[in-house]
Amino acid sequence: MSRLPTSRRRQSIWRLLDAAARWVVPSAMLAFGLFLLGLPFHIPGQALLRPAYAMGCVYFWSLFRPGSMPVPLTGLIGVLLDLMGVTPPGLWAVLLIVLQSATFISRRRLAPARFLVTWGVFTGFAAVVSLLAWALQSGLAMRLLPAWPVGLEILISAALYPSLAALLVHVHRGPAAVELA
């Protein structure tokens, strides 16, 4: 008599498909969001929303569902962000991977922490990444770019994160939950 645990249940093709679809949800949502934010809504500061959204998503998924946001995928999304905007391709890939690595390192402490703590840490990470973006872009353009958009970027990232996290928590428990497949 075989007594296999549930995780060793025979996997039908539908179950595999379901699991794969759930696994793809976070990155697909991130890419589609980037696309939507490119539409001409004529919101002031819309250009700053895209990096803020990408940073928020990468941070959240690396923290709570790292399996669904592997590093190569993060790199690809970074390149997509670069190509949809006008930054040199690879720049945001580097920055998002740095953000993800930092999140992975602090994951054990952060994941069980209260929301205020994760929010605060995200704001700190976003500040460092935005400053790095400014430094890299200034270096590549070989002149000092204005610094005020960095401050704005940090503010927008911090302001966006709570509502983004509220949305992503629902996705995390529902459509993106691979274990429910």
Binding site: F35, L39, P40, L48, L80, G85, P89, G90, F104, A133
Partner: protein, 294 residues
């Protein structure tokens, strides 16, 4: 599914950030060394995304301009009165313009004036705002190119009122227009009635600033800013905006084009007036790729 031993997997997961980081840095370096690399990638992606952008931006536009405008209903009668007034005023100006046109034709005829070549133009809808933190650009849907899409690179983009920017990348279906407010934008301009030369430089804010004007002739508040043919990148005499002083000795240009709500852009290509001093990597692959877009 591929089964890997646990230590190997752990090593892989530890190495992958480093590998990806190096790959991305390599990507930046390649893009830095070869401007065509990122232009081609970007144009390819834009051509793929352009129809999707179109599909998604159509409802937004319909909500703003179509029958679903609720906000406009309330101010309809006021607007009507205002438009009537404006129309009467414009009709007077039309008479003035017609008289001037007739006078101009007569003067040209007596001078044997050679008219400047008529530009070819195509009209495109703005489907995406592709700017970033330090970039101001929009994506325009263009009709399928009759001939080489690269002919469109360097075309002057104008909305109904003035110059909005210049095409820096063009694909089969889409073109990217670098707006005059972008940090990389430098446009030679002529100021006022006597056409004093200056350079208009984008500074990432809403109003580009004026630099390199002659100290003896400071730009006058309210003076008209037109494109200048110096450098050969722009045809002369296209309206850009008016001079305004934000602070003493810091003149800016208030653009005529409504750059933050662009809907339609006309792209004018001047065949006989191709950029001479401006290096565009597409047209001169052998030339050193500088990042000067205007």
């Amino acid at each position: 599914m591929l089964r890997l031993s646990v230590p190997f997997r752990q090593a892989l997961s530890r190495l992958s950030p480093v590998l990806m980081l190096m790959l991305s840095l390599g990507c930046i370096l390649i893009g830095r060394a070869d401007q065509n690399f990122d232009n081609d990638l970007r144009t390819g992606l834009n051509d793929i995304l352009a129809p999707a952008y179109m599909v998604f931006s159509a409802p937004i536009e319909a909500a703003e301009h179509g029958t679903g405008v609720i906000g406009h209903l309330f101010s309809l009668s006021e607007e009507n009165a205002q438009l009537r007034e404006q129309n009467a005023e414009l009709l007077q100006w039309q008479e003035v313009a017609m008289a001037l046109q007739a006078q101009n034709d007569a003067l040209k005829a007596s001078l044997h004036y050679v008219p400047s070549p008529m530009p070819q133009y195509s009209t495109g809808e703005v489907v995406a705002d592709t700017g970033g933190i330090y970039d101001r650009s929009v994506l325009v849907l263009v009709p399928p190119a009759n001939g080489d899409p690269q002919n469109l690179v360097g075309a002057v983009a104008m909305d109904g009122r003035g110059v909005a920017g210049r095409v820096v990348e063009a694909g089969a279906r889409s073109a990217r227009v670098l707006l005059i407010t972008d940090l990389n934008s430098r446009i030679p301009v002529a100021l006022g009635a006597n056409g004093a030369p200056a350079l208009m430089a984008g500074r990432n804010g809403p109003d580009p600033s004026l630099i390199y004007w002659s100290p003896g002739q400071p730009p006058a508040e309210g003076a008209m800013v037109l494109t200048s043919a110096q450098g050969g990148a722009f045809p002369p005499g296209l309206p850009i905006g008016v001079v305004h002083y934000d602070a003493q000795n810091d003149p800016v240009v208030l653009p005529l084009a409504s750059l933050d709500s662009l809907r339609l852009l006309r792209l004018f290509s001047y065949p006989d007036n191709l950029p001479v001093l401006t290096q565009i990597p597409h047209t001169k692959p052998a030339a050193t790729a500088h990042r000067s877009k205007h």
